[in-house]
């Protein structure tokens, strides 16, 4: 047999039909659904008199526009349009018989945190969701990517997607990371290196010692932002850490099925002489704690750098950089560490897991915030409960953070958690686009520890200078 990449292996195991021109029907093992990109898809099924083909493989949870404040089980405490979308998901889950975690359930949370947490996401699976950050599940060695609403309807009706195979790209992070450098710094640095279109047309496999050394949660952070690098998906070969994380979760296989699964999962790696269409290698020791300065996730610089000028760029990026500088209200040459922050947001599918909260709390212990507003939004009700049990919630509250309920919150600001005009935010989320966190709001992306440090000093801060 010819050598294969991990992506080749998962792809080959899921082709239900291949046409002469290479167009395939890819079978989908898990379909995650949320309230914002699914109503039109369910409506489409109803209009055509179709059913959900595999309701047992379909999992729904409201996350994008739910409030993260108390009393949200009562629709009166939601905006009218949000309440309509959540009510539609309630009804669609019930009518079509799919798994569902309503806001009143402690297991509710961001769809990409709930999937792995409940053991729905397993190595070697195909996982899709009407959300671009579905790439998160790639951390398990699953082929996972975002789809549009028409494709959501297609998967609901047929449990397949019409796909052509992407190319293979290897991103290797060699050696060890330096102190203060996290999974978020890896993933942002890769995007800074390749650009937001560098992965277009590819599925990325992240590998190398620095990736192996990451926990499962760190690996989820890395894969989560594969989409920001333009890739269809990002994945990491499963190993003992993966198996240990999965074992015992509510929907993970048990007994003989576990043994059978494990035997197959252990074959899921890229063969030594597999073909790569593109290879990027970055030394782990060259990665610094980073922040974004502009309005594209590729606008990444080490925290020790200065705000660039438009002249530092070429081609279409000159105009884009000037537009970013104007939007962000930044003067070229200013040290990034002098940029003052109004708001700190810790949460999202990128950095809303327990280890993220631990890293932030470690920085905040015994300190007070110097910003106008700071909030922590745990990625799920279970993450929240665990953080309370570990005493992290008290550290956040004593430091002056708001301690919220689970949801997407200010990552995309569809719910009431929004920046006001000109407000500058240190955020652990994934996108710094214009208006992303609120109209004319200004976003700097960074790791949870760096966001916590910014909360304490009131400006962008090098985590290595915190004691």
């Amino acid at each position: 047999m010819s050598p294969k990449t991990l992506y080749d292996k998962i792809w080959d195991a899921h082709v239900a039909h291949e046409a002469d021109d290479g167009t395939c029907l890819l079978y989908i093992d898990r379909h995650l659904v949320h309230e914002v990109t699914s109503p039109q898809a369910f409506e489409g099924l109803r209009m055509a008199g179709r059913k959900v083909r595999a309701p047992e493989k379909t999992i729904a949870v409201p996350d994008h526009n739910v409030p993260t404040t108390a009393g949200r089980e009562d629709p009166k405490n939601m905006t009218e349009d949000s309440a309509i979308q959540v009510a539609a998901l309630d009804k669609n889950a019930k009518d079509f018989g799919i798994h569902y975690y309503p806001v009143s359930d402690v297991r509710q949370g961001i769809v990409h945190i709930v999937g792995p947490e409940q053991g729905w996401t397993l190595p070697g699976m195909t996982v899709v969701c009407g959300d671009s950050h579905t790439a998160t599940h790639g951390a398990f060695g699953a082929l996972a990517h975002g789809i549009g609403t028409s494709e959501v309807e297609h998967v609901l009706a047929t449990q397949t997607l019409i796909q052509k195979k992407s190319k293979n790209m290897k991103v290797e992070i060699t050696g060890r990371l330096r102190p203060g450098v996290t999974a978020k710094d890896i993933t942002l640095s890769v995007i800074g290196h390749t650009g937001t279109a560098g992965g277009t047309g590819y599925v990325i496999e992240y590998c190398g010692e620095a990736i192996r050394d990451l926990s499962m949660e760190g690996r989820m952070t890395v894969c989560n932002m594969a989409i920001e690098g333009g890739a269809r998906a990002g994945l990491i070969a499963p190993d003992e850490k993966t198996f240990e994380y999965v074992q015992g979760r509510p929907h993970a296989p048990k007994g003989a099925k576990w043994e059978a699964a494990l035997a197959w999962w252990k074959t899921l790696y890229s063969d030594d002489d597999a073909h790569w269409d593109k290879v990027v290698t970055i030394k782990g020791e060259d990665i610094a704690p980073v922040v974004t300065w502009g309005t594209s996730p590729e606008d990444v610089l080490p925290i020790t750098a200065n705000v660039p000028s438009a002249d530092d760029f070429e081609g279409g990026k000159i105009g884009a950089a000037q537009r970013s500088l104007d939007y962000m209200g930044l003067t070229p040459g200013t040290p990034l560490r002098e940029i003052e922050i109004d708001t700190v947001f810790i949460g999202s599918c990128t950095n809303g897991r327990i280890e993220d909260l631990r890293a932030a709390a470690e920085v905040l212990k015994g300190k007070k915030v110097k910003v106008k507003r700071a909030m922590v939004v745990p990625g799920s009700g279970l993450v929240r409960a665990q953080a309370e049990e570990e005493g992290l919630a008290d550290i956040f509250k004593e430091a002056g953070f708001e301690w919220r309920l689970a949801g997407c919150s200010m990552c995309l600001a569809m719910n009431p958690d929004q920046l006001s005009e000109g407000e500058r935010c240190a955020s652990t989320s994934n996108r710094n686009f214009e208006g992303r966190q609120g109209y004319k709001g200004r976003t700097h992306l960074m790791s949870p520890a760096m966001a916590a440090a910014a909360a304490v000093t009131g400006r962008l801060t090098d985590i290595r200078e915190m004691n």
Partner: protein, 201 residues
């Protein structure tokens, strides 16, 4: 789905790179449970001020581009989220074709599901089309999907590549789900063998 075969219309120039889905349709308009009616909010935060007044210099607010049916843009158009509200808004405004040096993957696929043709051309050729679009409403471009060509108002013809299956579906206005349902037998037998090989799924 609406067919796309030939289109002659006004092209609006948008020489920005990385036009993201939050620019195309900001999140406050994703709370709809319908596909229609989003055109008025296309590029909302670039197109209107906070009071809802049009920002005069935004391209689609300029008299000569208000009826644009083609958009010419910079690289990595449609990056960001998977929201199909982006192509829904573009279509609802009246734009049926977007031309750029590159597109984000999910947005590109979403276009084909909605009767919109996204055309990828090398930067130098997009530059030619951008200049043509900048001439305004007297300069009409023609896009022919069957021939895979774009013709400028000066008669210069450029060829583009498109996946044969996607082209076929767009030309015929075919419904993907209907097409896949015809292969239900293949899905049934795949499901059976996968259940035997990977019973834990």
């Amino acid at each position: 789905m609406d067919k796309f075969d030939k289109l002659t219309g006004i092209a609006a120039p948008m020489p920005l790179v990385n036009v993201d889905t939050d620019m195309i349709i900001p999140k406050q308009f994703l709370k709809t449970i319908k596909r229609s009616g989003l055109g008025v909010n296309l590029f909302d935060e670039m197109r209107y001020d906070r009071q809802g007044n049009e920002i005069a210099d935004f391209v689609l607010n300029q008299t000569q581009y208000r009826e644009a049916e083609i958009l010419v843009a910079g690289e990595n158009f449609g990056c960001g989220s998977s929201r199909e509200h982006a192509p829904w808004a573009i279509k609802d405004f009246g734009i049926r074709c977007v031309i750029a040096p590159s597109f984000a993957d999910i947005f590109y696929n979403n276009c084909f599901k909605n009767g919109i043709l996204p055309i990828t051309l090398p930067q130098e050729q997009v530059d030619v089309l951008m200049k043509d679009a900048e001439k305004g409403s007297n300069a009409r471009m023609t896009v022919e999907l069957e021939a895979q060509t774009v013709t400028t108002s000066d008669g210069e013809t450029l060829s583009f590549e498109v996946d044969s299956f996607k082209k076929h579906c767009l030309l015929q206005g075919l419904d993907d789900i209907g097409l896949t349902m015809e292969k239900a037998g293949a899905i049934d037998s795949f499901e059976k063998s996968a259940a035997a090989e990977r019973p834990w799924v």
